[in-house]
């Protein structure tokens, strides 16, 4: 078993998979964290900014901002799943085939 593992670790496909998946995963997580805590900090320290009216109506800028955080959460998830479906799964298949003993 330990020989197999060393083999997989040296496999360029594996190295590429790990590099690409972790950089995308952590980067998207970071974006989500920054956006969400940016929103929370606005709520906490500057609620009046979110209460700025859009144009002459009663709708405030806080409404589209809040809704965009929800939409962004879905979009980021979609970006990751798309990337994983189109490239990670192929790499995993190659790794599994090449390291079958």
């Amino acid at each position: 078993m330990s020989n197999d593992l060393a083999g997989i670790e040296r496999d360029p496909n594996y190295q590429e998979l790990v590099r690409r998946r972790s950089s995308l995963g952590w980067m998207l997580s970071l974006i989500m964290l920054v956006v969400y805590f940016g929103f929370i900090l606005l709520v906490a320290y500057a609620p009046r900014i979110l209460g700025t009216p859009l144009g002459s109506g009663v709708t405030t800028i806080g409404i589209p901002i809040g809704l965009s955080v929800i939409v962004l959460a879905f979009v980021l998830t979609g970006v990751y799943v798309r990337q994983a479906n189109s490239s990670y799964d192929g790499l995993i298949r190659k790794i599994v085939e090449e390291n079958r003993s």
Partner: protein
């Protein structure tokens, strides 16, 4: 199988009797009997019992019981996750919060959603690749089985217990209002049905109850939000204009209000909501019901979309209720209305009923019945998921792995989990009745705080940090768990509002402890891992490479077993 048929017969027979019994004691704050609601609810229960019967015949192995044999598709699991997550607290609670304070409801919705992307990016696939039935399979993958299973079981059971009490009390109150049943009958009915679904049908029945509930809830909410927007010519601006005109807080409902008392509280709550999601045992367990990591990741994608869509609907529903419910005297409690002169404060049954009254306002009595039945179904689905997660933790982690050292007979393990379900069910009914007149709103927050401070840190560190050792995980995990519980007890919401100590006497000013309890957990895990010079620590660190390869590639992962 005979036992099940008998149980079903008794349940079917008892539903109309219960309704009649309640008719006699009608009065007080209870509603008149709502026959269309009861009819639709009986229809839902009948359908789910048929599914339970079907699932029971196909549930033989431990894999069937805990993870539906891994035979759920990504889309089905996405619906089931959404069904598990969209509790009555979020449907009625958020629309009620929007009804009373407008924008504040959206802050909660956002917080409850943003944990999902994190689950997708860092947890879902790794969890599926490393685990089999519970998330403790993952945290104990390379660490000392006994210690880590006990830690995970404590974290899971405490989370499940608080979440379950909150749901049971909410269910009792809601059903009392909706169907005119006595509180205790409502609690017994919910607990009883939950035990039937889980003990007979296991994960398969629970999953399908959640899927059906998710479809019903999403359709009902879509119709309501659509009807509200239709009344305002599909112009949100027109809806908001009318709402700010009739609401006593006027334009203040369009910006963050008094919900967040101080900035640190806001950040702490934000942390609990975001990372708590990634540590809820009943949610994590759902990732083992799909065939592989690819399906796991797809299921979170669908779930995120469905849950996000649902929260946008509840926002519209809350505003719809401001314009259509608070202006209509039929939905008001006359005596409160006279005193306060505000339709918002005088709503019959409290602000949690905003969505229910709106159903009546836009769709008449029949649709009111539908939404009431959906609300009941929602509670049933959520408590079933919780009970299954709690029972699995007892049977798989404590009985199977700790007591039997991983050599438990599969048959015995399933029997233990069925007994555990019954015990949890009885306990939930008992606690539901004990806590009837307590304010349990803090319990969901507490469940999220514990999940974020004990389950999540250990899980994420075990997947990504080579240096993690058994001792570090154990000490840090318990530090998070204990500090979260202590932090909630000493917070204003419990110390002053629930326990009745003097205002301002709470030692901790944060309503949610996640800010310091999560920090303590991570710091404890890190410090006690790097200081760990034990032999066990060497084994723990040495196991990381093999675990990491499996978490990334799925080589060696538990496979689907139904085919």
């Amino acid at each position: 199988m005979k036992k099940l048929s008998l149980f079903l017969a008794i349940l079917f027979a008892s539903v109309p009797t219960l309704a009649l019994a309640a008719g006699v004691v009608e009065g007080g704050s209870k509603q008149a009997i709502n026959w269309s609601a009861i009819g639709m609810f009986v229809g839902f229960v009948g359908l789910t019992l048929v599914i339970t019967y079907w699932a029971a015949k196909r549930t033989a192995s431990a894999a069937d019981f805990y993870s539906a044999g891994g035979g759920i598709t990504g889309f089905q699991n996405g619906l089931a996750i959404a069904g598990d997550y969209m509790s009555a607290a979020s449907f009625l609670g958020i629309s009620g919060l929007v009804y009373t304070s407008g924008y504040d409801g959206l802050i909660y919705s956002v917080g409850w959603l943003v944990g999902w992307p994190i689950v997708t990016f860092l947890i879902a696939e790794q969890l599926r690749n490393l685990g089999k039935f519970t998330f403790a399979d993952v945290t104990s993958f390379r660490l000392g089985q006994t210690d880590i299973r006990i830690l995970a079981a404590c974290g899971s059971l405490v989370t499940v217990a608080f979440y379950l009490i909150a749901q049971m009390v909410g269910a009792g109150k809601l059903i009392q209002l909706l169907f005119g049943l006595d509180y205790w009958i409502a609690v017994v009915l919910v607990g009883g049905l939950m035990m039937v679904y889980v003990t007979f049908g296991g994960m398969k029945a629970t999953t399908w109850v959640q899927i059906i509930k998710a479809v019903l809830l999403l359709s009902g909410a879509t119709f309501m939000a659509g009807a509200v927007l239709y009344k305002f010519g599909f112009s949100p601006e027109a809806l908001f204009a009318k709402a700010t005109d009739v609401h006593p807080k006027k334009l203040a409902i369009m910006e963050p209000g008094s919900l967040i008392s101080n900035p640190l509280s806001a950040i702490s709550l934000g942390l609990a909501l975001m990372f708590g999601t990634a540590g809820l045992p009943h949610i994590l367990m759902r990732f083992f019901t799909v065939k592989d990591a690819q399906a796991a990741r797809k299921s979170v994608f669908y779930a995120t979309g469905l849950i996000g869509y649902f929260y946008i609907l509840t926002f519209i529903i809350g505003f719809g209720a401001i314009t259509l419910v608070s202006t209509d005297a039929t939905f008001m409690d006359g005596s409160i209305l006279e005193k306060t002169r505000s339709g918002i404060a005088a709503i019959k049954g409290g602000s949690n009923m905003a969505a229910i009254h709106l159903a009546n306002a836009v769709g008449g009595n029949l649709f009111l019945g539908f939404i009431s039945a959906v609300a009941f179904a929602t509670i049933l689905a959520v408590v079933s998921g919780l009970a299954l997660a709690g029972a699995s933790s007892i049977s798989h982690d404590l009985y199977g792995m700790v007591i039997k050292g991983g050599n438990a007979n599969e048959h015995d393990e399933i029997r233990v989990s069925k007994i555990a379900t019954l015990v949890l069910g009885v306990l939930a009914i008992f606690l539901g009745i004990v806590f009837e007149n307590q304010n349990v709103a803090f319990m969901v927050g507490l469940a999220f705080a514990i999940a974020a401070s004990c389950n999540f840190p250990v899980l994420v560190m075990s997947i990504f940090w080579r240096g993690l050792t058994t001792r570090g995980a154990l000490i840090g995990g318990f530090m998070g768990l204990i500090s979260a519980v202590v932090g909630v007890v000493l917070s204003p919401a419990v110390w002053e509002a629930t326990l009745g100590f003097a205002k301002g006497s709470a030692l901790i000013k944060l309503d949610n402890p996640a800010l310091f309890s999560m920090a303590l957990a991570f710091a404890g895990i890190w410090l006690f891992s790097i200081l760990d010079r034990s032999k066990r620590g060497v084994i723990d660190r040495g196991g990381f490479d093999a675990q990491y390869i499996r978490s990334q590639t799925g080589i060696g992962a538990a496979s689907a077993t139904t085919h």
